[in-house]
């Protein structure tokens, strides 16, 4: 059995490329009006809850300030990002990946076990779970895949005046366009933090093998084959 299904691998790489480009072009867009507000409207400095830093050219796409070009990159890569996520979510729900590997169960929420899981991570022991993914993996992957990434799509659409006319609920659930914009920004940085942690952990866990498996699929060592099931 493959360690990573084809659907997961395809999605993983489309998502990775899209997310990097979306984030870096997003920083360029942020430079156009680096203030965040809550509610439906907001433009005055005194109403901002956050004055965002100006992101330097080496962090943005393109590498000079251009709202028009940054928006083109952002809106282009929003399409593969959203479509790939939709296909991956459907596949994961159908093939059991979501239930098995990307969600936590009630019995997982045991404080001493969670502490032990964290301790094992800090000792750089990542193979301590009897399941394919340990608790922290299932929790963080689930959080990113079911909440973080969809939130980016919905808050992104909520900033569109045309989509707000089409689907008024999409902006109302966030409490207004400026709130949606703030949430878009906050979740983007949450995803960036996940991205950094993810890369660090992959580097610590042996980047060559991890990268190879995410490309070829690798093989899953089945420790406890279910009874009566041919392996």
């Amino acid at each position: 059995m493959k360690r990573h299904l084809l659907s997961s691998r395809l999605w993983h790489w489309i998502n990775a490329i899209s997310l990097i480009i979306l984030f870096m072009s997003g920083l360029n867009i942020s430079n156009a009006h680096p203030r965040l507000y809550w509610g439906h409207y907001g433009f005055a400095p005194e109403d901002a809850w956050l004055h965002v830093m100006r992101f330097p050219g080496w962090m943005t796409i393109p590498d000079y300030y251009s709202l028009a070009k940054a928006r083109e990159w952002h809106l282009l890569f929003a399409w593969p990002f959203a479509i790939a996520l939709l296909f991956f979510l459907v596949a994961a729900l159908v093939n059991g990946h979501a239930k098995r590997d990307l969600t936590t169960r009630k019995r997982d929420w045991n404080w001493s076990e969670i502490k032990e899981d964290i301790a094992q991570h800090l000792k750089l022991n990542f193979e301590h779970s009897s399941e394919k993914y340990n608790f922290l993996q299932r929790f963080s992957y689930g959080l990113v895949i079911f909440i973080g990434l969809p939130l980016m799509i919905f808050t992104g659409l909520a900033m569109s005046p045309a989509m707000d006319a089409n689907w008024p609920w999409i902006v109302d659930v966030f409490g207004g366009r400026q709130s949606a914009r703030s949430i878009h920004f906050i979740v983007a940085f949450g995803l960036a933090a996940f991205f950094v942690l993810h890369i660090v952990l992959v580097l610590l866990a042996g980047p060559i093998g991890q990268l190879r498996d995410m490309i070829t699929g690798g093989t899953l060592e089945v420790e406890k084959p279910a009874e009566g099931e041919a392996t």
């Binding site: 480009i21 156009a32 251009s66 928006r71 399409w79 006319a165 089409n166 689907w167």
Partner: protein, 246 residues
Amino acid sequence: MNRRGLLAGVSALIIAGCTKIGETKPMTSLLKSTEGWNKWAQRLFGGRTALAREFDREDRSPTFRGNGTQDPGTPEYQAHIDAGFADWRLEVRGMVTKPLSLSMADIRCMTQRTQITRHDCVEGWSAIGEWTGPVLGDILRAAGIQDDAKYIIFRCADAIGGTDYYESVDMVDAFHPQTIVAHELNGEGLPIKNGAPLRMRIERQLGYKHAKYVSAIEAVASLGDIGDGKGGYWEDRSGYQWYAGI
């Protein structure tokens, strides 16, 4: 291995790569093509007549930001300010069966629509105001749009860097029930920074489509012969998308 150096190198590679690839012909056309997909998808989900949200009076922002041109600053415009815009005319011309030249009194005598809507700038900010004016569709029907006219151009009295501001929409947005030629903001004549005496409201698109200081409305078959041919001042100058629904 120097990991920090590696990460910085990878990041620089992505940016330099994207910037370079973005300048190639196929990538430029791919980047431009999303505008069409967005228009297609947004009209698919909402139809052509979905209405922008209308707010209550207490939802309005305390002030309404002026952006872009704050005052056209020409002697002609100053003369209009001094005269209280009494002699301002709105020409309706191009591919129409009956060209019109409307005075401010004519415009105020037409059936008025008042709407409290949110204005979204491409930069990211929003303001909410109450706009009043005749529906553009009524004006166009009075002038009689010819069958092969595809776009409506808005000519403006302001220029940025010596180039006249203009904008355009297709017939879907031109005949949208919330597309009005506003002469009032929050119950008073338009402030100069917001486009006095007339500005467009194109409620399902971003702010740069809402042309200010409007002096003429033109029906045309193609955008190619106007300005640099991309359908608007910012489209020509900076490559902003002509369809600005997102």
